[in-house]
Each structure stands twice: as structure tokens, then as C-alpha cells.
Symmetry: C2
């Protein structure tokens, strides 16, 4: 197995040449073969979902080149090496094991003297047992009353992923009788974030989950102090209201300030940690351990599918390769994620971190500068809201932005209303179908202001309903897509050195150790 | 006054040439003159706020060229023409009057036979009187009880702007005793959006504000039906729980299904309507009419400042011109909006619509294709959250993304906690200062993985506190920035033809009138 820069691959030049005559999706989709193309250009995913790429700029000439890229870049062997526990995170010299939280797809992985699958399973069981005891009223507050709310204190990956998953399933859980505790999140060091969240909960019946791998994250410890002050002010004992998710070596572990400590390790980065104890504790408390297990099961199914070497049978890999082609050869620098599901309202924010923090890099996995574009900017909002907002630019702006739609046949709650012969869920999905065609095929008009050039590519992941399983599969799909793109770009997708400098400088400001422009900006912001 | 394409201006070539040797902000800011530059490169804004552009790629050679651009493109005369009621929205042949809701800065504007300033003021007074009667318990529910919650039903501009403003001031209002009613929003046609919102409110004590200019917006009418069904199911009379914001000619006007109708007109587009009755009714109900008037007052002050012809004294114009220089000559296609204030968590979503829907266009105001880039993609999340998420790409990715920071000296609630000698608000602002310098100046490191190239431009708007006045000023700043950019690009920033095609195709799907690829996508989405 070789780690080569993208430009060192033989197929690089072939792809570049292919991009000189990009596929005309308007012609492909509006022509007589359009229907057939939509029927053919799709890949089955886990949980009966489908990845459709009929509105992407690929065809029977390009797909073999993408296969050649997958093969020459050794994407599947690299994925297998990762699953087998190789040191894929070269910068920090670490294994990359988030998939292992969901199932054993490779060899047994032994690290720190333990079988890591057993370690993750043990943490899941510990979280499940803890949640069950909270739900059963065995772990209670000072007055012997049940906890009704769980509040996560964490930032970045300790916040965005678990929060996106919680919001995704909150209504589903209500409709299915499994919303056992309400969940809230405190992340920002802005004191108004903690104040507002604390004001919105019943402190006496709230359990707090403090998430920090190192036990030293400034924002998180500051917010912990904020919470402890608030608990004490109401005469409550913080040690009866808090548990911790942290590393075994952190000051938070084995500490009587916490009811329990659940462990994470160095082999799962924050943005990949939703399936570890980082997501597991709060989601098991909110929805029950069974629902969390179902999320993992959907993700595991998708992880297994990602081992398929044929690009047209591997949704995550194909999605990744099309994205690379768009980024490096078609020159598209941004991707929009557009879920037609209000429940996925914060899923784009999670993907934004997942993708941009993983592949927003300028050096390869050996620390050498690369001479090609890497990860794109990711943004998105749920449809149909976005249609009445930024879609104007997506349709008629001077830049082309590839689109990633997500949609489901059924709503989560099931309550609906019929207007003009159709229900809202039909209207929602009619809009997805319409947008895909509008973007791809455009519309001629003599009035150029009403003219749509078309040729704007999109893909869609469609499923029956957003359930724990399909949500897990979605999560894994994007994790695996980002991983495959990192392999093609020869990046280390699992470190984040780019976040360090800001921390160092902020600490200098807080220590009063600054001069020049930094001092002037500190004055402008009224810090001292 | 002449409307010329950007490339027709004499200064275009000069700017292009200037961009060949872009300003090295790393050298400018890290050098001995760095502190002085931060002190000098700022513009006073309304409400004591400051626009700082010291970390932008401008200098004493470029600023005169930007002045030349402002003058040659006749930005101030065009703004004055707009204020005076000229038909600036050429596509729809309409005046553009959102600033007039906040004050009279130009001549009297007479349209539809009325003085428009008087029209807007009358609607504000009507909203204030209505809100006062609701607060006083003169308008009550079936049981004679006070309304406690207001729910806006609207989408796009009828949702994002009012929602962003409400969230921006919710905690401020709590802290200042002016949160008179809780506000909620229903926008998406996804039936789960309405279901979840309705489940979260006490229907018997909820007032609904239906916002649709035409009275025909599909999402809004569908959600209205949803709400009416829910009210009836609880034995409540919808006509006692709903008011409407609409045009005088819409079917919602003078209709006994609504307690009251407040009027908007054709001269204020959705994304510019937060200061009209679209924002005025819900914000007057939530916070009281005085707070809404204070928002307008801050906006009016900023509108007045935007009439200043000197670029270094006009924050909105300078912000606009720097943005144009970055977009057209430095090749940056995306701008990130990064408020260090949790209260502004949805402000980027509003700016995303404001900017991308206004200037995401490929034809000029006469409907002729333009041969230059127009509006960028806008995205953002509040700091410090973003730092632990997508900032990796912003610092070390292969694309440069200009940044727009916003920060305030004081929090809104005022509750804080001291850890390691500083409070959270200081930590929050230390991070802003640190990030600006980190992005601009970077850091050398032999380990290329820990190397930061720097040279990544940002600006910041800093203020004392996020209050109704400063929020209004912020809103107006960005509206005016977008307007000035539209003038430079010779666009009509006030229509949105790009949203039409999707609607037409969605209606075809719902009518069953589709074939080919559209039919196949409809099947994939399980619509029928």
C-alpha cells in the first residue's frame, strides 16, 4: 500500500483531460434517456436508502476513471488498514477507530493493552446501565426525585454531532414514546449561552454531562464552573448532578465530583465521536440505550457497505470521488448540504465540522505542502426554507455550487394536513424533485432575468423515514465519504493543527501578554 | 446618473492592476506599524459601534481607488435616488423603500396615492396599538385570558429576519424585563416543523401571525391550515387566535378570519422586511412596541451614516467595496460571518438570504448577462463554537475565505463566572482578537503541519452591547452593504427570479403533470 499525492497518480491527468468536456447533465436528464438515467444512476445504501447521482456530471466514460482513481489510490486497502488498526492519523501517531464503536469489520485491534472493540462495547454497556438506572429512578437527585433533563457541556465535536443527532430524533422519539429525558446543550464560552440554557431547565431535575477528552478544554471547564455556581445557588450538590465523558488519564476520571466517568480515547477525534461515549451517554439518557444501539446498527451497516471495491456499488466512495472531481477538475469550491427534513436542521452544521476540519488542509499526511485543492467549504440549511433564501444564488449566481440533497418518504410525527389535494409531506418532496430538475435542466427564457442556465449538479440520498437506523447510516456515509476524500488527497483527515494558534494567542491575551496589533484589537473589544 | 456594468468603469482596470500586488496584511499587522494600523483603519458606526478593516488587504494606495470606484459608480447618488423613491427594482418596476420604515432620509415618497412614510408609520402604530391591547388583556382568548405566546407563520424573509432579531434580543429582553410574550416560528412545509412547534406551545394562549404578502405562499397557507386544524381540535376558534401581515389587496386583508390585518406593500422585498410589519408585529408583541422602535432608531442612524460620500467614513460602503475587491480581483468566492455572540446565532442565516438572494445573479439590472463575478456564498456560525469546528479550513485550507467578525464588550444577561483570573466574556473576546491576528499573521513552524501561512483577511464590527439599537444598526449595515455591492455590480438586488422555476416544477409534480427524469425523482422520493 502506497500513500501518494493526488497529482502523482497516473489517473490524475486522465481526469483532468476528461474535465475539459464535462458531462452536460441538462442534455442527459432532459433528453429521452433522462428517466432511465435516474433509474440507473443510484447505489443502494443501508436501511433501504438510496444514493442517486443521476444529476451529477458523470457518465459511462467518467465512471471507469473514478474506478481507476479508487483503485490506484488504494481506497479500499486504506480503509481496511484503518479498520485493522494501522496508524492512519500520522500527525498525532494514532489509530483511527470510530467505526469500531459500531462493529468489528477488520482484525482485532489491540491498543493500550486492551481489545478496543471490547473497550468501546464496555463503555456503551456502562452508559446503558447508567441511563437505565437514571430512568428507573435508582440514580436520583437530592430529594430522591427522578432526573427529567440532561444537559451536555462540550464544544466542537462534543457538541455538534450529539446535538445534531438529538435534534434529528427528538420528534421521532416523542412519536414513538422513547423521549425519556429532554436534552439541552451548552457549548459557547459566551456567558449568555450557559445563562440562557440554565434558565430554560429545571436545575433540580437536571443531569449534566461534562465532555472533555483532556479535561482541560477552556470553554468546557468555564461552562462547568458556570453550571456548578448555578447548582450551588439553588442549594444543590453538583456532585449529584454531573457525570463526565473523558479519557482515562484525565483529571475528570475517578473524581468524586462526578457520579460516573465514561471513557473515550485518543483514537476517535471529536468530530468522529458521536458514536462513542461522547454521543452515547447523552443519547442513551435522552432516548434510552436501545435507540442509541439502533443508531450504531445503522452506521455499522453503512460501514460494511463502504468496503465494496466497485465504485458504483459503494455510495460513500462514489460520493467522495465525484466530490473530488468537482473540487479539483471542475473548480467548484463549495458544497451545499440541503436536507428536506426539519429534523436534520443541525446536521449540516455537524457535516461542516466533519468535512472542513478533516480535509481543510494544505499539507499531506507526511507534512509536505500539496499543490492541489483539498476540502471544500460546506454549508446548508433545511429545505424548503433554503428555497426562499439562498437558492437564488444557487440557481442564477455566477458560481456553481454542487448540492447534496437528503429526503425521506415519510415524516417522523405522521401528523399532516391536506391542502389542494396533497399533504405537506408530498409538497415537501415534490419540491426536492423539482429542485433537482430545475438545477440540472434550467429553463430557457427570452427574458434573461427569468433564464436558468441549468447544468448545476446535485445528488440525493433518499430514504423511507428518518429513524435511528437511517440516521446512523447517514452519519456513517458522510464520515466515510470524508475519509475516502482524505485518502485521495493524501491528507491526514484526523488531526486539526489549524485550531491551535488561536488558542495560544487567546491565552496570551488573557494573560495580558500582548502588544502591537493584538493589544489594539483587545482594546477595541473592551477586554480590559 | 448612469448605470454601467462594473467592467465599463475606468477604475475597473486600475483595481485589477492593484490586485496583482495585493497588500500583505501579515507584514502590515505584525510590523511595528501594526498597532497604529488597527487604531487608524476603523470607521465609526451608529450606537458607538466601530467597523475595523485593519486586517483587510487595503492600504493608502488602494483606498483612493475604492473611493474612485464609489464615485465613478455613483454609489451615493444611487442610494439617494433609492431614498427619493426612484424605481430601483427594475425587474419588477418597483420602488425600494425598506429604509423608509426607519426614517425619512430623502424626499417625500408618494406611491399608490399615499405618502409612504406615513403608510409605514401608520402600520407601526397599528401594530403598537394591537400589541398594547394584547399585553393589557384587552384582546384575549375565548376564556378571557391573556395571550402568552406569539407564533409567526411565514417563510424566507417572513421568517429568517424576524427570527434572527427575536433570538438576538430574547435574553436581553429577559434581563431587562421586556420579554412580554415568547415567540416561536413555523416556516418549513415539512409537517414535522409545524407539529413540533405546536406541541411546544400552549395553544389556548397563543396568538398566530400569518405573514404572506400575496396571501398565496404555498408553505405558509399549508402551515396556516395545520395550525387551524390544531386549534379546532382543542375546541378553539382560529379567528380569535390569528392576525395577518399581508398586502392590502390580498385575500387575507379585510377578512374576518383574522383579528387584524397589518399591511406590507410591493416596495419592500421579503429579505428587507424585518423593519416593516413583517417584523414589527411579532417583535412588538414579544418585546413591546418601544423595543421595536429602538431597533428602528438604530437602523435609521446607520442609514443616515451610509449617505457619507467618503469611503473611509462610511462603514457600509467601505465594507461593500472591500468585498467587491476580494470577490472580483482577489478571487475569493465565499465570505464567513462569525458573530462572537450566541444571541446572533441565526443572524448569519438571515445575512445568507439577504446577500445571496440579492446579489446571486448573472444578469445586470437591464437583464443583460454580466461577465464578472457577483455575490459570494455566505455562511457562518457563532464563535467560539466555530473555532472548534470549521476554522481548521479557514486557517489552513487551500482556499482563502474572508471573514466578517462581530463582537461586543458586554454580554446581554450580565451573569458571568471567573476562572483563572478572567470572566467568560473576556475569554470570548480574547478569542476574537486572537483569531484576527492568527488569520492575518499566521505562524512559522518547521513542522509544516503546524505552520500557518497567514494573510487571511478579516474585518470586525465591535460594539458595547447587543441592544435593540445596535442590532438595528447591524441589520441596516448589512442591508446597505449589499445594496452598495449591487450598485457596483449593476444588479437589481431587489428581485428574486431564481426562486420561481422550482415552484413551477413542484406544482407540476403535485398536479401529477410530470414525466421523464422528474417523474423518476418523484418516485425515488415516494411522493405517490
Amino acid at each position: 500500500m502506497e500513500w501518494k499525492n493526488f497529482t502523482q497518480l497516473d489517473v490524475y491527468g486522465k481526469l483532468k483531460k476528461a474535465a475539459e468536456n464535462p458531462v452536460d447533465i441538462k442534455a442527459e436528464l432532459s433528453g429521452p434517456g433522462g428517466a432511465e438515467r435516474v433509474r440507473d444512476y443510484k447505489v443502494p445504501m443501508a436501511e433501504g436508502m438510496t444514493y442517486s447521482y443521476a444529476a451529477k456530471q458523470v457518465d459511462e466514460k467518467l465512471l471507469p476513471l473514478l474506478q481507476e482513481l479508487a483503485d490506484e489510490a488504494e481506497l479500499i486497502p486504506k480503509y481496511e488498514a484503518l479498520l485493522d488498526g494501522e496508524v492512519i492519523n500520522t500527525g498525532e501517531k494514532r489509530l483511527v477507530l470510530h467505526q469500531l464503536t459500531r462493529g468489528q469489520l477488520g482484525k482485532d485491534v489491540i491498543a493500550d493493552g486492551v481489545n478496543k472493540r471490547e473497550f468501546y462495547t464496555a463503555q456503551q454497556e456502562k452508559a446503558a446501565a447508567f441511563a437505565n438506572r437514571v430512568h428507573a429512578g435508582e440514580i436520583v437527585n437530592e430529594k430522591g426525585e427522578k432526573f427529567t433533563t440532561v444537559v451536555q457541556i462540550g464544544i466542537g465535536g462534543s457538541d455538534l454531532g450529539p446535538r445534531a443527532l438529538y435534534i434529528s430524533l427528538e420528534n421521532w422519539a416523542k412519536a414513538n414514546g422513547t423521549l425519556l429525558m429532554d436534552a439541552k446543550f451548552i457549548s459557547n464560552v459566551d456567558p449568555d449561552d450557559a445563562s440562557a440554557t440554565l434558565a430554560s431547565v429545571d436545575l433540580a431535575h437536571s443531569m449534566f454531562v461534562l465532555v472533555s477528552k483532556s479535561g482541560t478544554t477552556l470553554e468546557t471547564l468555564t461552562n462547568e464552573a458556570f453550571v456548578k455556581d448555578a447548582l450551588k445557588a439553588e442549594g444543590l450538590d453538583p456532585a449529584r448532578h454531573m457525570c463526565a465523558v473523558t479519557s482515562e488519564t484525565s483529571p475528570l476520571a475517578g473524581n468524586s465530583d462526578y457520579l460516573e466517568a465514561f471513557f473515550m480515547d485518543d483514537y476517535i477525534g471529536g468530530r468522529y465521536s458521536a458514536c462513542s461515549a461522547v454521543g452515547g451517554v447523552i443519547l442513551s439518557l435522552a432516548f434510552g440505550p436501545d435507540v442509541f444501539a439502533r443508531i450504531l446498527s445503522g452506521a455499522a451497516e453503512e460501514d460494511a457497505l463502504a468496503k465494496e471495491p466497485c465504485v458504483t456499488k459503494n455510495a460513500a466512495m462514489l460520493d467522495a470521488l465525484i466530490g473530488v472531481f468537482e473540487r479539483n477538475f471542475l473548480g467548484y469550491g463549495v458544497t451545499a448540504v440541503l436536507p428536506y427534513s426539519q429534523a436534520l436542521s443541525r446536521f449540516p452544521a455537524h457535516l461542516q465540522q466533519l468535512d472542513m476540519e478533516s480535509n481543510g488542509k494544505s499539507v499531506n499526511r507526511f507534512g509536505e505542502p500539496v499543490d492541489y485543492q483539498t476540502g471544500p467549504v460546506i454549508f446548508g440549511e433545511p429545505g424548503t426554507n433554503g428555497q426562499h433564501s439562498f437558492y437564488q444564488l444557487l440557481h442564477q449566481g455566477t458560481s456553481v455550487v454542487p448540492l447534496q440533497f437528503v429526503g425521506f418518504h415519510e415524516s417522523q410525527i405522521g401528523r399532516d394536513v391536506e391542502i389542494r389535494g396533497t399533504v405537506s409531506q408530498q409538497k415537501l418532496n415534490a419540491n426536492v424533485a423539482a429542485q433537482i430538475i430545475a438545477f440540472a435542466c434550467g429553463k430557457d427564457d427570452e427574458n434573461r432575468n427569468k433564464y436558468f442556465a441549468g447544468g448545476r449538479p446535485s445528488s440525493i440520498i433518499a430514504g423511507k423515514q428518518l429513524t435511528p437506523e437511517s440516521l446512523g447510516a447517514l452519519l456513517a456515509h458522510f464520515e466515510n465519504k470524508v475519509m475516502f476524500q482524505g485518502f485521495v488527497w493524501n491528507l491526514n483527515s484526523f488531526d486539526q493543527e489549524g485550531v491551535q494558534l488561536g488558542k495560544v494567542l487567546a491565552n496570551r491575551v488573557l494573560a495580558g501578554d500582548m502588544d502591537g496589533a493584538l493589544l489594539e484589537y483587545s482594546r477595541l473589544l473592551g477586554i480590559f
